[in-house]
């Protein structure tokens, strides 16, 4: 046996074999080493003083830690939590268990962390008593008249299902008729009067009277529509230019945010063109076509 083999056996705590004993007899260095190992083992005797000895060793560990890296209790906190949560395994877990064995304070903390989990989660709900529900319902009852909008139902269906819909539709229809034929600014204001006049003046011949009314009022309608067309076209142009202005504004802003300044400049130029179209549309005066004499 070589000295190295003897040291390995000693390190493994293996009993002294005959071969090892012969080596010890022949090697002074290994004999000395074997003597030291025997003495160190006898420091912790299996007697009634063992508990005191363990305390003393714990104290020694704490003293060494205090003079080297400092207390590990603070550093162990997170890993103790991970162990309690069951997310620590393998070597890390062994380290924590080893610390807990020598640190009663952290051991008690770990135990408390363990039972706290279930206790804390059971503290989430507290019954407020039966009268609480009634109080909440009383408080929200006035608001229940205003029903919450159904997010997936189309708006026109909700409008259609409203009980007041027929009355509202009739009201809107009457307003449209008044705006077309009754308002002072309406181009068709004289159409009903003409129709009534023709009906009164003509003899009772329903077929020819209908034709005459159509020739008079329908012709008037066609003429009014024709003379109004340039104005309507102008409004349409203004509307299109406004829409284009908004679109170009959004694009200019988007380009500026992206840092594309040249793109933003192009859009700003487009916006200038839109503004000009709006201005032209609002200020242009149409030349009214010569009105043909109307037949009564």
């Amino acid at each position: 046996m070589t000295c190295r083999e003897f040291e390995q056996r000693l390190d493994a705590g293996a009993p002294l074999s005959d071969e090892a004993a012969r080596h010890v007899d022949s090697c002074a260095a290994c004999r000395e080493l074997e003597e030291i190992a025997r003495v160190s083992q006898s420091v912790a005797p299996p007697t009634s003083d063992a508990l005191d000895m363990l305390d003393m060793l714990d104290m020694l560990t704490r003293d060494v830690m205090a003079r080297t890296t400092g207390s590990v209790c603070e550093a162990a906190g997170d890993r103790i939590i991970d162990m309690v949560d069951g997310v620590l395994d393998g070597f890390e877990r062994d380290l924590v268990v080893s610390h807990l064995k020598g640190c009663p304070s952290c051991d008690a903390t770990a135990a408390a962390l363990g039972w706290m989990r279930s206790e804390l989660s059971s503290m989430a709900a507290i019954d407020p008593g039966e009268e609480f529900t009634a109080a909440v319902l009383r408080a929200t009852r006035p608001m229940q008249a205003v029903q919450h909008a159904e997010p997936h139902e189309p708006w026109w269906l909700r409008l259609w299902e409203r009980p007041r819909f027929t009355w509202e539709a009739a009201y809107v229809g009457a307003m449209v008729l008044w705006l077309l034929f009754g308002a002072a600014f309406s181009p068709f204001r004289d159409v009903p009067g003409r129709a009534l006049e023709i009906a009164r003046s003509s003899p009772v011949q329903p077929a020819s009277m209908g034709r005459e009314i159509w020739q008079a009022t329908g012709g008037a309608l066609m003429e009014k529509t024709r003379t109004s067309t340039p104005g309507l076209n102008r409004l349409k142009e203004v509307g299109e230019a406004s829409s284009s202005l908004a679109s170009h504004g959004t694009q200019a802003l988007g380009s500026a945010i992206r840092g594309d300044l040249s793109g933003s400049a192009v859009r700003l130029k487009d916006m200038g063109g839109d503004l000009k179209r709006i201005y032209d549309g609002l200020t242009r005066r149409e030349t009214q076509p010569a009105t043909k004499p109307q037949e009564a």
Binding site: G77, A108, L120, M123, A124, D127, F132, A135
Partner: protein, 185 residues
């Protein structure tokens, strides 16, 4: 009872569905309010106000998100609003802690029932000794069971801060419990 169906009916104005929803979640809402207020009457008022706010905001709840965190977030906001409004007087959580637990006595039946076990009494006493941010963290994560991401969003804090604060709060609470009465087995 399926929560999606319940919510849909509530949005249509079904009063029975709304009552069922209130009954299903009132203990959680009241529990959260009680932990903030530490006063039966105030907690009841705040919980009621929270339900009124929940009712008015039901249409804004997105079905893709979880209902309980949304509900607790609204309740939390109502509690914070209430505490801010009542700033003239010190909030219950800042009152000095006496020898006995700062809990309603046996005459206050709902809370007394909830805190029957000695461990819970010990926990309530230990909670009173924690700082307000730690207590809030225990309340939201360990008591109400919210996820760290939800708490970060609710308190407008970085996720890392919430995680480290949560761990520290648990450790502090465990150490306080150990100091005050051991494991209370």
């Amino acid at each position: 009872m399926e929560i999606a169906e319940l919510l849909q009916r509530c949005r249509r104005g079904d009063q029975l569905a709304w009552e069922a929803l209130v009954r299903q979640y009132q203990s959680r809402v009241y529990g959260l309010a009680w932990h903030y207020m530490r006063n039966q009457e105030e907690a009841r008022d705040v919980a009621q106000e929270a339900f009124v706010r929940i009712y008015t905001k039901l249409s804004s709840f997105k079905e893709s998100e979880a209902f309980l965190p949304w509900l607790l977030r609204l309740t939390h906001n109502v509690c914070i609003d209430h505490i801010r409004r009542a700033k003239a007087r010190p909030p219950a959580s800042d009152l000095p802690v006496g020898e006995g637990p700062e809990l309603p006595d046996s005459g206050m039946s709902p809370e007394g029932h909830a805190m029957a076990s000695s461990r819970q009494r010990l926990l309530y006493r230990a909670l009173d000794r924690l700082s307000a941010p730690y207590r809030e963290m225990i309340l939201l994560k360990d008591i109400q069971g919210l996820q760290l991401e939800e708490i970060a969003s609710m308190l407008d804090l970085p996720l890392g801060t919430v995680k480290s604060r949560s761990n520290r709060a648990r450790l502090e609470l465990a150490r306080a419990v150990t100091r005050m009465g051991g494991a209370a087995s």
